[in-house]
Symmetry: D2
Subunit: 109 residues, 4 copies
C-alpha cells in the first residue's frame, strides 16, 4: 500500500471536475448512476467466467488492466458521491463493520 | 476525515469474512456481483428524486442514514474485490486520475 | 405461454402509472434507473450461488417466487422505458437478433 | 406493434445460443449478470442528461439507435433468464400488475 490517502485523492477528483465545469452534471443522483454503471463494467469482466477462472483473472494481463481500471472508476465515483453528500467514507465503513459484527456473530472456531 | 485508513479497514473486512468461513463464496466474480448490487441500492435512493431533491438528500435523516450505509457497503465490497485481485485501490485510482488528466485536458479558465 | 401479449400489458402498465399521477416521475432517465435496480435485485438472488445451484434455483419455492417476481419487475420497467421512448420492443429485439446472426456466425456442427 | 410475439423470439434466442455451444456459459446466474450489465448500459445513455433532455432522447438519431439497441439487449437476456428458469414472463408480469393494483390503490380522480 502506498502513502496515498483517500482524502487527497478525493480532493483531486473534486478539483478535476471543477476545472472542467462538470459541477452541474455531478448531482448526487447522477454520480450514483455513474457509480452503478462502473460497477457493472467491473462485473462484466467476470460474467462468463467460472468461479475458478475468476480467481485466476489477474494472470491475464489484458483482464488485469481492465480490473484495475474499473476498480479505479468505481472508487472515483464513490468518492465523488461521498464528497457531494458530505459522507466520510472511511468512518461510514468503520461503523458499518461494527454493526455487522453484532449482526453476524462469528461462530466458535 | 478520521485517522482511519484503507489498508486497516481492508484487513478488517478480510478477517471478518475469514472468521465466518465465507471464503468459498468470496470469489472475485461473486464479489463484483455483490458490489454491483450494492451500487444499485445506493442509486435506488435517488431514482425518483429530481436533481434538486438529490442535492438536498442528506437533509432527510432517514435518507441520510441509508446513503451512508450504502456508501459503506459499496466500499466494503470494492475493498474485498481489490483484496481478492491484489489491486492497490489508491494506487489504481491515482494512476487513473493521471490518465484522465491527459484524456480530458482542462480548458483555459 | 398464455394468450397474454406485450402490447396489452404495456398499455396496462402505462394506465396504472397514469391513474396514480406518476407521470412526472416516469421520465426515461428515471425509468432506466429503476430498470437497472430491478435487474440487480434479480441478480442478487444468484450472487452467492454456485453455477450448479443457480441451475436448480427454481426447486426452492421461496427463491422461485422471488425470481418470478423480479423477472416481472424487470419486464415492467423495460416496457415502460419502451413506451416512454416509443420503442417497439419486439421489433427492436428481432432486428438485434438479425444483426447478431451476422456478427456471430454459427460454425458448422 | 408488429405481429412478432415473445414466445417466437424466445425460441429464436435459445436456438441462437445452442447453435454456438453457449449452453455452458448460460447458467441462470451468468444470464442475470449479463442482464444487469445491459440494463446499466441503457441507463448509461441517460446518466448526465437532465430530466428534460431525457424526455427528448429519441430526437438524437445516434442516441435513439443506442436506446433501441440496449432495450433489445435487455429483453434478449431477460427472455433467456426466463427460458433457463422456466418462467412465463407475460404471465409473471400480469400477476405482478394484479398484486400491485392491491398494493397501490389508485385514489379518486
Amino acid at each position: 500500500m502506498t502513502d496515498l490517502d483517500v482524502a487527497t485523492l478525493q480532493r483531486r477528483l473534486v478539483a478535476f471536475a471543477e476545472a472542467r465545469d462538470w459541477g452541474p452534471f455531478h448531482t448526487p443522483k447522477n454520480l450514483t448512476m455513474a457509480l452503478s454503471v462502473e460497477a457493472s463494467e467491473l462485473a462484466e469482466i467476470f460474467q462468463w467466467l467460472t468461479p475458478e477462472e475468476s480467481v485466476e483473472v489477474m494472470s491475464d494481463p489484458d483482464k488485469a488492466f481492465r480490473v484495475r481500471d474499473e476498480v479505479a472508476d468505481v472508487l472515483a465515483y464513490l468518492l465523488q458521491v461521498a464528497a457531494a453528500c458530505d459522507v466520510d467514507v472511511l468512518q461510514a465503513l468503520s461503523e458499518k463493520i461494527d454493526r455487522n459484527e453484532l449482526r453476524f456473530p462469528a461462530g466458535p472456531r
